[in-house]
Amino acid sequence: MKKYWSFFRMRFLGGLQYRAAAWAGIATQFAWGFMSLLMYRAFYDADPAAFPMEFPQLATYIWLQQSFLALFNMWRYDDNVFESITTGGVAYELARPIPLYAMWFTSGIASRAASAALRCVPVLAVAFFLPEPFRMHLPSNVGVFLIFAASLIAGTCLTVALQMLVYVSTFYTLSSMGVRIVMMVLSDFLMGQLIPLPFFPESLRRFAELTPFAGMQNLPLQIYCGTVSGSAMTQALALQMFWLGTLVACGALWMRRSLRRVIVQGG
């Protein structure tokens, strides 16, 4: 366990170095969040009754989304991993006394956590002091916040577990372009990155909630906003854990199988 921890720390501290990039990112995310809210505001003004969430809930959702973007976005990959697979550098990694899956997994979590840690504090700090109705709100009680935090961590793990499948598929395809694009479009859509799931048509929303993507960004954020609670929340959390277990097991097994027959190219 200790080796994973130090590996995590190494990657996390490495990630914290990119501060100038983080500042530029914060400004962008802030402007982006504000424009989104203005857009939803226009729809809200057109017909408040048709709005599926309360407006303060939506504002909270948007600011959380902008703060924790780095945890869930599926266009962020570790290019070193792809490179090590296509150039054969993976042979060195295999020589290390740590299982490859666990190492790449830890590294993925660490770099996401670092990037989110840098960005979330300033965005949230400002979001709490905006004028109504664009202000970010606190969750209804401490319990909700704790469940939110737990599901945020599980959601991040789920995102990385899904990416691990993409990495392993590269052993077979060598170029992951196609898989990556499809994965990105699907996840952006189904985890509520483009519009929150409550804005989906009823039947599609029910379907989306069953997919692993719903556990990524959608669930923690909706728990915080209070749009998912009670027994629906328990079910969704169970489903999130189920997908996390399944994807990690599949990824680890698949990787073991493909490593058994991997042919390292080049010299």
Partner: protein
Amino acid sequence: MKNLWKLYGKYFSIHLRSQMEYKTSFLLTTLGQFLVSFSALLTVRFMFLRFYEVDGFTYPEVLLCFAVVLMAFALAECFARGFDTFASMLGNGTFDRILVRPRGTVFQVISMRIELSRLGRVLQAIFVLCIVLPQSGVHWTADKIFTLVLMVAVGVVVFSCLFVVYASICFFTTEGLEFMNIFTDGGREFGMYPFSIYGKEVLRFFTYCVPLALFQYYPLLYLTGRTENRFYMFVPLLGLLFMVPAALLWRVGLKHYKSTGS
């Protein structure tokens, strides 16, 4: 001038052939571009399943706006991509090679990269236009068709100028400035809806500072018959003025240029 066009044609054919060498990769990227903008289209659809209108604009009218902005952006990205990836050109010293050649810098940066896979988005825009043109309720007379073409054409110029501004800033920072994304990618994403829905201040900003609304909101008013004033039909032409600050900034940046030395 004729010489330049001929040279550009040569560059174009080189880019075309080199991208056709990797057909699968090209097709996948094109498909990806198509899918990304298709999911954006779906979100608009979902919003209008719930809401009848936004700021007085109906679904087909918004789609018209969506298609114009998407097409303008995609064409600009396809042909002015060199400016979008300018940071890497500065970083790896390619720009030094450009400076010693006997042609203008702008021309060379443009012809360095032509990203044909971006046409996946153009395809999407055409697809949307085909659906929306008949049902938008617009009576398509010659002047309206002219307005539509003008919107797209000026849109390409304005987005390209934004890429030039972005590249000019790279002269000072070497790194690309992520904040500019809010105008380029953001312009595409938020330009799906007429800029007036974001409120007066935002509309003013996108009229006078970053003139995206000039080829989007104002001519749309004429297109949808909200105004009969012919002035709105020619408003996009004002957007061409954006070329002046973009060119100036490029000049200033060029003077300031120091090679990164690699």
